[in-house]
């Protein structure tokens, strides 16, 4: 279980997170939605330890996330970055097996990488290609294969469908849902794509103005009477959320 209590984060006097409280249960797929600039990426980076909250505590299975304990937690995490964040200088299979190549499974690393590529619908013949030789959708899939390569307990997805056409976005959403279901992992996804929410989420949290505005089961979203959530789902300009120009 991942628990966030009173998380605050400010950048150069600009408060981005203003007291985020959130609990993600084991094996749950939590999708955090919110407008551009609402602090979703900052929140996920705080959980991963890439940023340190100014105030507040993050615990994983009851143990506090601190700079000292970060490495231990990261060994249990996988992450799919918005742009893939594949290492340009390494071929695809070494990207996927990056963690394995530096651990006890080094000898089987390539074999596992190819199996993980197959799991995300990619053929073995791309294993020796470089990321720059792949399309955006393929790079996302390789990123997903890398995220699941070491069989993590928690996987983070940062805007997994951004920049993809609707069909490829659907493919990625389905892959994420399948991976989460098959592996039984805890998943935290940040997105503003409501199609992703429909496919991936068990639970949804809406981040607005640096706080969790609404949280609940995906099925409860349609009947929620929160005007912010309603406006976000409808995608209209009329409502309490003001468009940022």
């Amino acid at each position: 279980m991942i628990t966030l209590s009173g998380i605050h984060k400010t950048f150069e006097g600009n408060p981005v997170l203003r007291g985020v409280d959130l609990t993600v249960g084991r094996g749950e797929s939590m999708v955090i939605i919110g407008g551009s600039g609402s602090g979703k990426s900052v929140l996920i980076k705080c959980i991963l330890g890439l940023l340190t909250p100014d105030i507040g505590e993050i615990t994983i299975d009851g143990a506090a996330m601190t700079p000292k304990s970060q490495t231990g937690f990261l060994d249990r995490f996988g992450m799919l970055f918005q742009g893939g964040a594949l290492f340009d200088s390494l071929p695809v299979w070494q990207n996927v097996a990056f963690r394995l190549l530096r651990g006890p499974q080094k000898a089987q690393a390539r074999e596992i990488a190819v199996a993980k590529l197959a799991q995300v619908g990619l053929k073995a013949d791309i294993a020796d290609r470089y990321p720059s030789e792949l399309s955006g959708g393929m790079q996302k899939r390789v990123g997903l294969a890398r995220a699941i390569a070491a069989d993590p307990e928690v996987i983070f997805f940062d805007e997994p469908t951004t920049g993809l056409d609707p069909i490829m976005a659907g493919v990625i959403n389905d892959l994420i849902r399948n991976v989460v279901t098959e592996l039984g992992v805890t998943a935290i996804t940040i997105t503003h794509d409501m199609t992703s929410v429909d496919t991936i989420a068990d639970k949804v949290a809406m981040l607005h103005d640096g706080k969790i505005r609404w949280t609940g089961a995906k099925s409860a979203m349609e009947t929620a009477d929160d005007p912010y959530l309603t406006q976000f789902i409808a995608g209209t300009t009329d409502g309490p959320i003001k468009a940022r120009w």
């Binding site: 991963l48 890439l50 995490f77 594949l86 290492f87 340009d88 530096r102 890398r146």
Partner: protein
Amino acid sequence: MLGALAALGRFAIFTGQTISHLARPPFYGGAFGQALIQIGYFSLPVVGLTAFFTGGALALQIYSGGARFSAEAVVPQIVAIGMVRELGPVLVGLMIAARVTSSIAAEIATMKVTEQIDALVTLSTHPMKYLTLPRVLAATLMMPLLVAVGDTIGIFGGYLVSTQRLGFNAASYMQNTIDFLEVLDITSSLAKGAVFGFIAAIVGCYYGMTSERGAMGVGRATKGAVVAASVLILAANFFLTEAFFST
């Protein structure tokens, strides 16, 4: 002034952290091997060409300058001492700043912009151990070798010009060169190489790691790294020369 001091402090902390990782496992041998090849082997052509033409030009200059007071015969000695003590290490250092510092800064800054540095962290890999330490170590170890190659080719350039154009006897030119050089000349040259290599790599890594976001950030990091490394190499050259040869 305060801003400059703060920047200096950040650079000092970065340098200290990099050195501290030397003593702490893991060590990424593959990344180190790649850095050795990139920094050492692939720099050989530019180092060789720079040193060759500089040695040749130096011989011509000393010959024509020396002719003003009938001292043309000192060409072998001055080419040797000039190349080994000064021009070899400094020119190789500046070439490495242009070629390696810029490449390191641009590569790491791009990795930062595209979240590859964050990805390394999430894969339980310390960016300083994986990116900075191998490059700094490789540059520090390879630069003395590159300087030795540069010194040798520079002297050879002077030898070729002197024997083919200026009428020097080949055997006596080589004998004069060998007789005149002292061990301190060579050790100072190699030591300067090691220091310049360290500066070139650590500055590139620092500017890359601290670059701002976006294409402009990568450009600024690269430009700043080359300028800072070049100035630091020239400043370090002065202090090392002072330390080795002040009487």
